[in-house]
């Protein structure tokens, strides 16, 4: 075999590339690393087939089309798909005693030994195939395994962590028993019964509000604490004669491969933006492993995706039909084919900050450094979550309220929860995983409609840590009320399911996550949907009392009336103020001012919550897809 540089000379002398193209590819290779051939393809100098034709000639092995002539099914099973993907070859056919191997890497002595080790003794012969053909052939050959990985593995190996089984018996019956007891109580003593119901609603509502507000209040402390830590670190580094500020910005060549999973379904109108949005990331393209995850029955989106002829670093992965047909199942399928050390999920219309991947890598590097130096006793970092904001924030009233909610969540609550050491439920996108940790957790639960929140909690249960990074991703807020309700139904249902999954054995859960984990579970995951369910009662009572009527002819104790009104009004006021501050900080006062409509916005949540409760009983795994592209190309300047 000839040296790598010769492939460049070979292509140059064949007239397939020019001197300038070769120089550019060599420059990229010097800065980013990787194979020259790959850089030439990424740069558009040559096509993939041309490259591997040249390599085939260089390696003295004919090229084979694995799509037209797929590997022998039994033969290919000898090598597991992760190994095959990692090694870059598959056993293709047997010809008598000869084993023919299709390879994308140079057939060196080391490769031959590896083949013999895995496939047994044989006379070897090699064929060259393209990287695309290889992974598609592997995917086709190991499809049943991949499907098991994506939809059944978690439920099979860790049934207690999967939402497949739904509610346990005691979880199904305890709410029924509670409701029956309340009804009996009301019948026997209406006054007492109603007082208890109202008191319960107030407790739930207060718990949810207090948690949200207190978490937000912690943000300034967090910032001050981080500032003190930074100053202390600067002083210590100076004392040791080091550069005062630790900057772990890896050279491009040292950056790891990063997998970006982009699940799309019925999004033919937005999928074309993927290339533009992902292409603007400041990360070496040769280190990107982007997978557009398409569902087999979504012919329209598949056609559009193919027609846009994505760049080399983007793969179109068509997820085979299966149940449940959900986003986490598709992500699991893609994760199995991932090449990256880290992985992140983005939606098709997402616009992440340019340096988000680098920031994520830096966060993981920092965690590794601190743990290696014995500076940290925290659990190992498995996930970092970037903040989400909306680039159509002021499109209409609903998007404004959504933007406010997200600002409060990502700019206030999550950082506050992080400061308090509470487990963090993840957002639907822009959560960056260490792939090895994600796989050890069991990846995503395909039966949980809020797989993100579940993953965050499961990470904590299994001894990992979730953190936030100061990078953002622009998203499109849902602008239609009906679609919003469906989306929110799914989220609330997911919180209920996540609560149920994690409290199947409450004591075990408490032991695993500790006091803080219990606080996070109760205060957020459980209290949020319950608060929305109870909200109409609290609102209705307050409204009726405000008018001044004797509610249902009951002469309620003054302390009940006073407490209920105070809780409701004060609770709402606290939420309005903290949300307004967060939204004004993130966007501007024109958005923040709409926080005053939070009590009305919560009514929509209540509609979604009751819908979620119904679906929890009748159809817990149903995934109501949120439509995107509703606001076309509208972009506000509020987030700038």
């Amino acid at each position: 075999m000839r040296a790598p540089l010769e492939i460049g000379q070979s292509l140059l002398s064949s007239g397939l590339i020019t001197e300038d193209q070769l120089e550019a590819a060599l420059l990229r290779q010097r800065t980013e690393g990787g194979h020259l051939g790959h850089q030439l393809v990424l740069g558009g100098a040559i096509g993939r087939r041309e490259l591997f034709d040249a390599l085939a000639e260089q390696w003295g092995a004919p090229r084979v089309d694995l799509i037209a002539e797929p590997p022998d099914h039994d033969l290919v099973q000898a090598v597991s798909y992760p190994v095959a993907l990692r090694e870059g070859w598959v056993p293709w056919k047997r010809d008598g005693d000869q084993l023919i191997v299709a390879t994308t890497v140079a057939p060196t002595r080391a490769v031959e030994e590896r083949v013999l080790e895995l496939c047994g003794p044989a006379e070897l012969s090699f064929r060259v195939t393209t990287s695309w053909d290889l992974w598609r052939a592997i995917e086709a050959a190991h499809r049943s395994t991949l499907l098991f990985e994506s939809q059944d593995r978690l439920a099979t190996e860790r049934p207690l962590s999967s939402a497949l089984e739904g509610l346990t018996r005691w979880q199904r019956w305890s709410p029924v028993v509670v409701v029956l007891l309340v009804l009996v109580g009301i019948v026997l003593s209406p006054r007492t019964g109603f007082v208890l119901v109202l008191a319960g609603a107030n407790v739930v509502f207060s718990a949810a509000i207090l948690f949200k507000t207190l978490a937000a209040v912690l943000v300034p402390w967090r910032r001050a604490h981080q500032s003190r830590l930074r100053h202390a670190e600067v002083r210590e580094r100076q004392r040791r004669g080091l550069p005062p500020i630790w900057r772990q910005r890896r050279a491009d060549a040292d950056l790891p491969t990063y997998t970006i999973l982009i699940p799309v379904y019925n999004e033919a109108n937005v999928v074309a933006k993927v290339v533009e949005n992902i292409g603007s990331l400041d990360y070496p393209k040769s280190k990107l492993d982007v997978m557009l995850l398409l569902e087999a029955d979504d012919e329209e989106t598949i056609a559009v995706a193919r027609a846009m002829k994505p760049p080399e670093y983007v793969r179109l992965v068509v997820v085979p039909p299966g149940k449940p047909q959900t986003k986490p199942r598709a992500c699991n399928y893609g994760l199995a084919l991932a090449r990256g050390e880290f992985a992140v999920i983005f939606d098709a219309e997402d616009r992440p900050d340019r340096d988000q991947l680098r920031q994520a890598v830096a966060a993981f590097d920092r965690d590794d450094l601190e743990r290696a130096e014995g500076l940290s006793t925290k659990n190992p970092l498995a996930v970092v979550q970037a903040s989400l904001y909306y680039y159509n924030a002021d499109y209409n009233v609903l998007t404004r309220m959504f933007a406010i909610e997200y600002a409060h969540w990502f700019e206030a609550m999550l950082p506050g929860m992080d400061a308090a050491g509470l487990p963090l439920p993840l957002g639907g996108t822009s959560n960056h995983f260490r792939v090895s940790a994600l796989q050890s957790m069991g990846a995503w639960d395909p039966y949980n409609v809020t797989e993100d929140a579940d993953a965050g909690l499961r990470a904590s249960v299994q001894g990992f840590r979730v953190a936030v990074i100061e990078s953002g991703t622009g998203e499109e807020a849902c602008s239609q009320t009906a679609a919003w309700i469906r989306q929110r139904t799914r989220w609330i249902k997911g919180y209920l399911v996540t609560s149920a999954v994690n409290t199947r054995h409450p004591l075990r859960f408490a032991r695993q996550v500790g006091v803080r984990g219990v606080v996070g579970m109760v205060g957020l995951i459980m209290a949020t949907p319950l608060a929305f369910l109870a909200y109409p009662l609290a609102l209705g009572f307050t409204a009726a009392t405000y008018i001044g009527v004797q509610f249902i002819g009951l002469d309620l104790p003054a302390w009940v009336v006073g407490t209920s009104i105070t809780t409701f009004l004060f609770g709402n006021a606290m939420m309005i103020v903290s949300a307004a501050i967060a939204a004004t900080w993130r966007y501007n006062w024109r958005i923040g001012a709409f926080a005053i409509f939070t009590p009305v916005y919560w009514l929509l949540h209540s509609v979604a919550a009751w819908r979620a409760l119904y679906q929890l009983v009748r159809d817990p795994h149903r995934w109501e897809k949120t439509p995107h592209g509703l606001t076309e190309d509208y972009e506000s300047d509020a987030h700038v």
Binding site: N396, V397, L398, Q480, A482, I547, G548, R590, L630, Y634
Partner: protein
């Protein structure tokens, strides 16, 4: 409710934001003033209308100056209703029977609720500055809303300036905005609603029903709870919304959704008001049919044959017109009339024209009320003559302002040779002349001021009594039927409302009437029962009761008397020094 979206709208001459009407900024601006002027007349950019903050601040400054003048002269408390509104607001919290029921049913509640935090301070309550603060903010809101409406209509800087001048250079309006009358909140609500409708109708992007509900529906809801003119505005606004949607070529369903979006908050406001009446008075229509309703109020006039406008549209129009003339002024009115002709001729019934017509809803409602006998108005052309309720036409001033501004805009557009500044200066000169004419004899030439003067004269003895009581009150409670004729002077008395036993205290008032010696050190009442009253509710219940109580004369001593009013003090309480020495007043 579903929020449907459609493709972005194309431009059209009816939508000035898109068509880019309005003054174009001059290239290479020549300094801050020039840039500010260009911004002032610039086209709106989305939600932003440059110049809004400036207009708000300047309007508030003007309102503040006006307030300083009226507070110093005491004229901000000349209207009896103004004092009553302050008192109603104060007694929601400061009363022996605090609670929402203190809002009563005579007037719609929002102005009282807005005054509520301000009147908790006794100084602000007593001097009426509480109302000045609210009125100034309302003036700022009204002027800003008018400015934004004109911007959405595509008017340039000069037209906007003239429109604002018509509003802000009106002494009657400025005076009203320093008082606790309901006009400030009403006019602010009307104009804010119009601005919201204009922003929705003339946006280059198709805005949702939710935005309509927030930016137009909420101000309309505020108006609903302020005065009944706003109820008519909700109706006319709904028709406007439906017409705009249908003209865009959208579906009937979309029209219904938008109308419902606009009307949702007003409807909720009405529901709340009905629920309030049902909860506290057992009748959701108590405000329409009760003892303190407008119907009860006009009944007396009807019985006395003074409701001459009822069934008489011609006379109603004449009286209304005269009130408008003496309130808005001949010059603005004449210019508005020409503006109406010009805009009708050039705009027809376009969306822009309809929006301006919307501003006349309150006037149409007032005419209807006069003709149907729901309302009474007395001025120089009524029978009999006098000055009463003319301030209601103040809600027509925004309409006049819009029409004058439209005229200026159309004249400039029609005759480009006419330079900007001469146009503005000409109108300014006319407005100055109008104001100078008014200033010559404000009490005769401005009916709102005339009525205030009448009030000052009519209340003079009562206020003198109130001032005396303020100086000599030494605690112990006051028994007074504050709802009786001309006794709504609590701000002038200037003691905490919680000191009173009055009709608003409900059962406590009855108990105090039955045994005043046990409850109140002071009693204030008409020494002779009221005979010239507007409603039966104006009878002095303390006089009624004490006239039947022989014990009263032995328990109380008259310490101050003026006109037919008397202030009595409980004999068993020591006087230090005796009141005869302090006041020098007669018993």
């Amino acid at each position: 409710m579903a929020v449907d979206l459609a493709a972005p709208r194309t431009s059209g001459s009816d939508h000035p934001e898109v068509s880019g009407r309005g003054d174009r900024p001059r290239p290479g601006g020549a300094g801050r003033v020039s840039r500010a002027w260009m911004a002032f007349g610039g086209a709106p950019r989305g939600r932003r209308v440059s110049g809004s903050l400036t207009v708000f601040v300047v309007s508030c400054v003007i309102g503040t100056v006006a307030s300083i003048y009226t507070v110093r002269t005491g004229s901000n408390l000349d209207y009896g209703d103004a004092m009553a509104h302050l008192t109603i607001s104060g007694r929601i919290l400061d009363s022996k029977a605090p609670g929402l029921q203190q809002l009563g049913t005579v007037w719609l509640p929002l102005p009282h609720l807005l005054l509520l935090p301000l009147v908790q301070n006794l100084f602000l309550f007593r001097t009426g500055v509480a109302a000045c603060i609210l009125g100034t903010l309302c003036l700022g809101i009204a002027a800003t809303a008018l400015f934004r409406t004109m911007a959405r209509l595509g008017f340039g800087g000069p037209a906007r300036l003239v429109g604002l001048a018509v509003l802000l250079a009106n002494p009657s309006l400025l005076y009203a905005f320093t008082t606790a009358l309901t006009e400030p909140v009403l006019i602010a609500a009307i104009l804010a609603c119009l601005a919201g409708l204009a922003g929705w109708a003339f946006s280059s992007r198709r805005l949702s029903g939710g935005e309509l509900a927030v930016f137009a529906g909420i101000p309309a809801g505020a108006g609903i709870l302020t005065r009944y003119e706003a109820w008519a505005l909700v109706l006319s606004g709904s028709i406007f919304v439906a017409i705009v949607v249908v003209r865009r070529g959208e579906t009937l369903r979309r029209a219904v959704v938008c109308v419902l979006s606009f009307a949702a908050v007003p409807f909720a406001s009405i529901c709340w008001w009905l629920a309030y009446n049902a909860a506290w008075y057992g009748n959701p229509l108590e405000f329409l049919t009760g003892n303190y309703s407008a119907a009860a109020f006009t009944e007396v006039f009807t019985q006395q044959g003074q409701l001459t406008t009822k069934g008489n549209p011609g006379l109603s129009f004449e009286i209304f017109g005269w009130a408008l003339l003496e309130t808005a002024g001949l010059v603005p009115l004449a210019l508005a009339g020409v503006g109406l002709i010009v805009t009708t001729a050039r705009w027809g019934l376009s969306d822009r024209a309809l929006l301006i017509w919307l501003a006349g809803t309150s006037s149409a409602f007032l005419l209807f009320s006069l003709t149907s006998g729901q309302h009474i108005m007395v001025n120089d052309v009524s029978l009999p003559t006098g000055a009463y309720n003319n301030r209601y036409v103040l809600s027509a001033v925004p309409w006049v302002a819009l029409l004058v501004a439209a005229l200026v805009h159309e004249v400039r557009g029609f005759a480009r040779a006419i330079a900007m500044w001469p146009t503005v200066l000409a109108v300014a000169a006319l407005l100055v002349g109008q104001n100078l004419w008014w200033a010559g004899d404000p009490g005769e030439r401005m009916t709102v001021i005339e009525e205030a003067n009448s009030g000052r004269v009519a209340f003079a003895p009562v206020k003198e009594m109130a001032t005396w009581l303020h100086a000599n009150y030494d605690g112990g409670g006051i028994l007074m039927d504050e709802s009786a004729d001309k006794l709504a002077v609590a701000p002038v008395i200037g003691v905490p409302i919680g000191e009173y036993y009055n009709r608003a205290t409900g059962d406590l008032f009855d108990e105090a009437l039955a045994d005043p010696q046990e409850y109140a050190r002071w009693v204030v009442m008409h020494r002779v029962q009221v005979t010239n009253y507007a409603t039966r509710s104006a009878l002095d219940m303390v006089t009624e009761e004490m006239a039947e109580d022989p014990q009263f004369a032995t328990d109380y001593r008259l310490v101050y008397a003026i006109s037919d009013l008397g202030v009595y003090r409980r004999i068993s309480d020591p006087e230090d020094p005796p009141f005869a020495e302090k006041s020098g007043s007669t018993s």
